[in-house]
């Protein structure tokens, strides 16, 4: 018995000896992001190795704000992400509900098409989407352009369909017998029961919108209409630029999400484990 627990101890030590350096390597870029964001530019470009935070975050932030209206861009990003998340959760759970609870003509085809789009590269729709939104609808540099086209989300629908089909149908049949309308059953019985799944989906969708880069880069390229990642991206690669400022921006984009991640880890992981976003 003692040799068994000794073997377990050895295995445990080996496990930690392997995993700890790997974890430190994985944390290193995030740590350096924070360190860089607090260092003056002449500190970033000095020959010494600096691994601890300094106190120049505010100076860096001011440099960033001078180069681009980053606070304004953050405002756009937050508003767009909140609106997008609300609408997308609503749309995907309505569709998921229909697929989970009703028999209807064409159901198999709808599911097959949704599944088919999971492995279809986004590149295929990118150009027509751009032509349509920018030229035909004249909506470039608006919030609508940022919010509406990404509302189609195939994995979200499959996630909500799964959530609703796991609920016992007796729950809904009782209400039906009493003559409650279907949309009321959906809103007041099904949605409250699906709260944990809705939370998981909402977090993943918010994150996807918050970090979205390519589409906002193409469609909202005017300075006053840029999202925060796009505004930050315009600075990367400029010759005369404050790297401390860029890092301050990166921290402002990342740290709030890390806090949300720590607080809501369970929902986060549930959302990703279900493949709720591509």
């Amino acid at each position: 018995m003692s040799s068994l627990s000794q073997a377990r101890l050895v295995r445990s030590i080996v496990l930690h000896l392997f995993l700890t350096p790997l974890a430190l390597i994985w944390l290193f870029p995030l740590w350096m992001m924070v360190v860089f964001s607090t260092m003056p530019d002449n500190g970033i470009f000095s020959p010494g190795i600096e691994l601890l935070p300094h106190d120049s975050f505010l100076d860096n932030f001011n440099n960033l704000q001078r180069g681009t209206n980053f606070v304004g861009a953050i405002g756009i990003s937050v508003s767009v992400a909140v609106t997008y998340t609300f609408l997308s959760v609503l749309l995907t759970s309505m569709a998921g509900w229909a697929l989970a609870r009703y028999q209807f003509f064409g159901k198999g085809m709808v599911v097959a098409i949704i599944l088919g789009t999971i492995t279809l590269p986004y590149a295929v729709v990118l150009i027509p989407q751009f032509i349509m939104v920018a030229r035909d609808f004249q909506l470039a540099n608006t919030w609508v352009a940022l919010i509406v086209p990404p509302l189609f989300n195939s994995l979200g629908v499959l996630f909500m369909r799964q959530a609703f089909s796991m609920m016992p149908h007796e729950l809904f049949d009782a209400a039906r017998v009493e003559g409650v309308k279907e949309w009321r059953i959906f809103l007041f019985v099904a949605l409250p029961l699906a709260r944990p799944m809705l939370a998981a989906l909402a977090i993943i969708l918010f994150l996807a919108s918050w970090n979205n880069y390519l589409w906002p880069l193409l469609i909202n390229s005017q300075p006053g209409a840029m999202t925060a990642p796009v505004a930050l991206g315009t600075l990367i690669g400029l010759t005369k630029v404050s790297w401390g400022g860029i890092m301050a921006g990166a921290v402002m984009l990342t740290v709030p999400m890390l806090v949300v991640f720590v607080l809501l880890q369970r929902h986060f992981i549930a959302g990703i484990a279900a493949g709720a976003v591509k």
Binding site: L22, F104, F268
Partner: protein
């Protein structure tokens, strides 16, 4: 459940509307655009104009080669690493599990722009922390972004850092759905942990691994932000240019929508081929 066409489609309507306008029509439209010469006004039908150019364009084959090279190296490395992370995080011997999970899963929330900026700075020739650390252990500094091979390596390292934990989360969920008694029986039969991994864990996890691999391949195939921001528009000299970046340059810098659509459909063709391989790999062996 009785048939309720009207009710069902009322719930589906807004979703299907968005789907039709922003996906179904674009899928058809970009196919049609790929057969048109789009730099004349008005566009004219010229079936071989873009596709003919594509098969003779060295820039296309360069981007295709780079993309496939990244795929072939980065995806297997990342998936293997993700499997290792998931299996070790799942070990009952692990202490302070929350800290390790945070370390590996945190990159999942980091945006492409933010981490591209950090990696670009970390791998800077003279002032990057990586070269400084290498120097301090006696390794001469590497000019990461002026040579193709190290520049590709940085791209692959960055993508692996960003996505390994994401895949580990999915794989961990897969691991946790394997019933414990399978392992208990194997342990009673004195099957070693290593053998258990190869003969129980991997086969039972295969569908999840294939799922992760396919999503990763399709994601990496469209790689855009990393070569755009980290290696400065696919540098050095197109050495890290990917299909995604070529599509961006052709479509949105040169405004050559026809040619860009042909590139997009090439990517779709690759994706369909990969999906078919996936279906074949996970088919019922009957």
């Amino acid at each position: 459940m009785r048939t309720q066409n009207a009710t069902a489609y009322r719930f589906l309507a807004p979703y299907l509307l968005i789907f039709s306008v922003f996906w179904v029509w674009p899928i058809i439209s970009s196919f049609l655009i790929s057969f048109q010469a789009t730099r004349t006004v008005p566009w004219r039908f010229a079936p071989t104009f873009n596709w003919g150019r594509l098969i003779g364009d060295p820039a296309f084959f360069n981007a295709l080669k780079n993309t496939l090279l990244i795929l072939v190296i980065q995806v297997p490395v990342m998936i293997s690493l993700a499997i290792v992370m998931a299996v070790l995080l799942n070990s009952p011997l692990l202490k302070a599990r929350g800290l390790y999970r945070f370390a590996f899963f945190a990159p999942v929330v980091v945006g492409e722009v933010a981490y591209s900026a950090v990696f670009r700075l970390m791998f800077n020739l003279d002032f990057g922390i990586i070269n400084k650390l290498l120097n301090s252990v006696g390794v001469p500094k590497i000019d990461w972004f002026s040579n193709v091979t190290p520049a590709m390596a940085v791209i692959m390292i960055a993508v692996t850092w960003r996505w390994a934990g994401y895949n580990a989360i999915i794989l961990l969920a897969g691991l946790q759905s394997i019933p414990d008694d399978v392992y208990e029986a194997a342990t009673l039969d004195r099957v070693s942990k290593v053998k258990q991994f190869f003969y129980i864990t991997l086969p039972l996890l295969k569908p999840v691994i294939v799922f992760c691999a396919v999503l990763s391949i399709i994601g990496t195939m469209q790689l855009f932000t990393e070569p755009f921001l980290i290696t400065e528009r696919g540098g050095p000299g197109g050495g890290t240019e990917t299909l995604g970046l070529l599509l961006y340059r052709q479509g949105f810098r040169s405004l050559n929508f026809g040619y860009a659509s042909a590139i997009a459909y090439t990517m779709a063709g690759l994706a369909i081929a990969i999906t078919l391989v996936q279906l074949w790999l996970t088919r019922d062996p009957k």
